[in-house]
Subunit: 319 residues, 2 copies
């Protein structure tokens, strides 16, 4: 059912069960909600986050029921955040399709996002592990902080956003959810504390690298695969690592002038043709090496091999 090239290996059947759980959530008895949910939940997305949860779960004692709740909770939290992201950014397209925001308007999209947060909470509570549930609440707060940081940059974000501020923001908006998937599952699988910390670190680095590659693809990706215009982040004033790398390698006056030209196409071309893309990929590679190093602490075997393969998938992907 999952339409992705990611090498999920031994958790493919678990992911089929996840799809059924998502269909079940969308089949809310509610006459209005059901049809809306069924357009945002089943059959869409790469399912990378729940796959990570399920794989980490197989590093220890795999308990199918709580693990499936964990994976479903993570994916529902991801879905909720996408719905609200589109509201916040007033995005018309996602993965080439019209967003819920565009189809049903601001009000209902806000409420559907809230409902998905609620369902995500219910799934995490169903793991019945108070530490995991606490992690869920922390993650929710981190994700909001990351989004608020991004939405509240000043008028000249291209000058003020440092590399550290960028990493802080993407930690909140993206990596925190990868951490929930990996650390939460490590706890549920009964791994010992050093291994739980290692899986937290793996999720953290995977999440940061994933977002950096996302931000690079926004500049160099194939528009038909991205389902949106190249350079859309920059066009809407969101400063990501490639722009920060460009600033680091250009004389300040020249960089400032490029932004004052009010020529977004030219700016996008400037980023694409500079070393900023390679430098951003190098940062992602550095983080992914740290993710692989963290894997050295957990038992060898097929789950660990797949988790290692996924570090390469993250940077090789084209969409």
């Amino acid at each position: 059912m999952v339409t992705t090239g990611a090498p999920f290996g031994l958790v493919r059947e678990d992911l089929d069960r996840l799809e059924l759980a998502l269909v079940e959530t969308a089949r809310a008895e509610h006459p209005i909600l059901g049809p809306l949910l069924s357009t945002v939940l089943p059959g869409s997305g790469k399912r990378l986050r729940p796959a990570l949860a399920l794989l980490v779960g197989r590093l220890g004692t795999f308990r199918p029921e709580p693990m499936l709740h964990m994976a479903t909770g993570v994916e529902l939290l991801h879905a909720a955040s996408l719905v609200h992201d589109d509201v916040v950014d007033e995005s018309e397209l996602r993965r080439g399709a019209r967003t819920l925001f565009t189809r049903v308007g601001n009000a209902v999209a806000v409420l559907v996002g809230d409902y998905l947060f609620a369902q995500s909470a219910a799934q995490c509570v169903a793991t019945n592990d108070i530490r995991v549930i606490g992690l869920f609440a922390e993650t929710l707060a981190s994700m909001c902080q990351g989004q608020i940081e991004e939405a509240s940059r000043g008028n000249t974000p291209h000058l003020s956003v440092t590399r550290e501020a960028y990493l802080h923001t993407i930690w909140g908006k993206t990596a925190s959810l990868f951490v929930l998937a990996c650390e939460g599952s490590a706890i549920l699988a009964g791994l010992d504390e050093p291994r739980v910390r290692a899986m937290r670190r793996y999720g953290d680095r995977m999440g940061l690298a994933f977002q950096i590659v996302d931000d690079v693809l926004d500049f160099v990706g194939d528009e038909s695969k991205l389902g949106k215009q190249v350079g859309s982040d920059l066009r809407q004033g969101t400063i990501t690592l490639p722009v920060i790398c460009l600033r680091e390698t250009m004389p300040t006056g020249e960089f400032r002038a490029a932004f004052e030209d009010d020529d977004p196409d030219g700016l996008v071309r400037l980023v694409r043709e500079s070393s900023a893309i390679d430098r951003s990929y190098a940062e992602a590679e550095r983080l992914l090496q740290e993710a692989r190093d963290a894997l050295a602490l957990v038992p060898a075997g097929e789950p660990r091999d797949v988790l290692e393969n996924l570090t390469r998938y993250v940077v090789d992907r084209r969409v």
Copy 2:
């Protein structure tokens, strides 16, 4: 610190501690969030919901720490839902002041609401009681369902909204949170199951009655106290019990004609001058009697007396 005339009696000191907890939440280390939160959290609101939680907590073994988390979680959930309500309704004023939505715009208001949901989740998790946390997740879902029902009524809601549909909607959007406050606290206080159920029933009936009175006050209240125009629900197409009562006592053709006139002031006057107001108050009174009956099941004493007094405050209040 609390600016209300509600007779909260013996939990007044607990409520002062609640205010401190809210100030603490608003003092988020985050430079952007803190100032925004401090405009929606401290010093505003009646604190009725946390007061109910604290009073019910005193019917059994009062454990100050989890009870304060419970009360704070309930109030944060209320604050979150108000922030999103204003986004959904595009409301300019709340309690006479400009809403967060008006001050900071749609995007940031959506995210601040999400952040408040997250903080509410964190407080409920901090009660460390998995049953209470499960109830929190259910409540979040019910509140969203109620809001979605209200936001998705058809083009002729004045004809299609039945009394049952109205009660279902206000159960979700209002009473479910009263249930969380009362049932959650009853669980934390270690009451036995029949008493937990009685407190659930008390919260349920109090919540429904509170919303009905709110909906009546929207027609008959004092504009300066309401902080908004009289009849604002009807003007924005929200059908509440007074309109349903009017429809039940008017010939269908006449009722339909009144709505087709496109004269909101006339409609509001029609409701105010009909028996619909008295009939709505009677429904609230009936529910509050059921709330008082539920109290008969819990131990007599000051907490129960205050809970009983609050059933009268709910219907006597003018704002």
